[in-house]
Symmetry: C2
Subunit: 197 residues, 2 copies
Amino acid sequence: MRHKGKTNPPGRIRIMKSLSDLMAEKDFHSITTAEIARNAEVTEGLIYKYFRDKKDLLYQVLKEHFEAFQKKIETRVNETGSCVGKLDIIIYTSLESYAANRVFSKILLLEVRNSLDFFKSCAYEMVQTYSRTILNIIRQGIDTGELKPGTDPVVLRKVILGAIEHACLGEIIFGRELDIDRVSREISSIIFQGVKA
Amino acid sequence: MRHKGKTNPPGRIRIMKSLSDLMAEKDFHSITTAEIARNAEVTEGLIYKYFRDKKDLLYQVLKEHFEAFQKKIETRVNETGSCVGKLDIIIYTSLESYAANRVFSKILLLEVRNSLDFFKSCAYEMVQTYSRTILNIIRQGIDTGELKPGTDPVVLRKVILGAIEHACLGEIIFGRELDIDRVSREISSIIFQGVKA
DNA sequence: CTTGTAAGTAAGTATTACTCACCATGTGGT
DNA sequence: ACCACATGGTGAGTAATACTTACTTACAAG
């Protein structure tokens, strides 16, 4: 019989912590269930009491992280009224968050995408929330006339999200440094002012 | 003893074709070597005669697709002299290529990234070539004054690549339709003219 | 006191990527 | 002609891994 999710027993917490820790060292695929269990000081079987499978465990760990991230975004965004300012903040905060938390960034940008399961998971719901936040700000900006009328909000969001993610890729993959201030300013400038002379 | 790569025997071709076909149906991780072999009508052992491991096979399949793509980009780009025009073409051709070849796109955008091995593979070399092509065009555009002076070429490239990739994600993952003409025009407009009113 | 259920265990099992020893067929050198 | 040897291919392994199942213990409510 599987767990119903009504309580949060110590074993479950230890397992999630264990995976979270192990991910700092190596990538998800090369972490074994045996290792997770050993590290959490529980038996392998217990993992499957609380999680459908290894991926499900990953998604739940990810979800926790996203919730914290989303909260930070929302409080910061409310510090300004301007739409362009809000988007600036999102770009900056996202880069900052990716840089400060490489483990999760690596998982999000490189690891989870390979399975369609992710896009049905609770973790992906958090991504959608984040994504929707951006879309709402854009729509608002078009309404208030801050952004060019006729701009396609969905495409603009894609450009913003794509820019953010791609900007971090080099750092995540090769461990390169990222000048958050400069790069986020540059991205904002390109998207808001354009690059054509 | 492993294969030296001097010839291209039928078994090898069948194996690559087999994986390529299977990828249209499911994701790489859930395709088994047994399945690949059965589908190619060879034995499992033969796979390891021609490929170091399962991933190596994947990379070689990817590389083949990428070579064709790169050729198309290069001939089209040379049809115009303007830098903005060249970048327009790259955006359009990339979207078109992603849309026309979903299997290849799925591998590139979702599957290969999860392993650091990819970034040392022959397939990644093709990505770098593509990436460098864009960078050179941008640099040229700044020199000729077509693009704003002071633009960071590397960041601009990140924005362009990110926009292209993110634009295709929805289609690849959820099988949604993509209006290539409209979206590529919109991306170009955002990046070149900006969105600030 | 009993009944039910949640927490946790221990010993599997099926599957999977990968290996290795072997066979068959040409092909070139002496 | 005969040997050496590389190439193309086989099939029966093996170790490791994700996941299962049957079980025990603890304990709270009625």
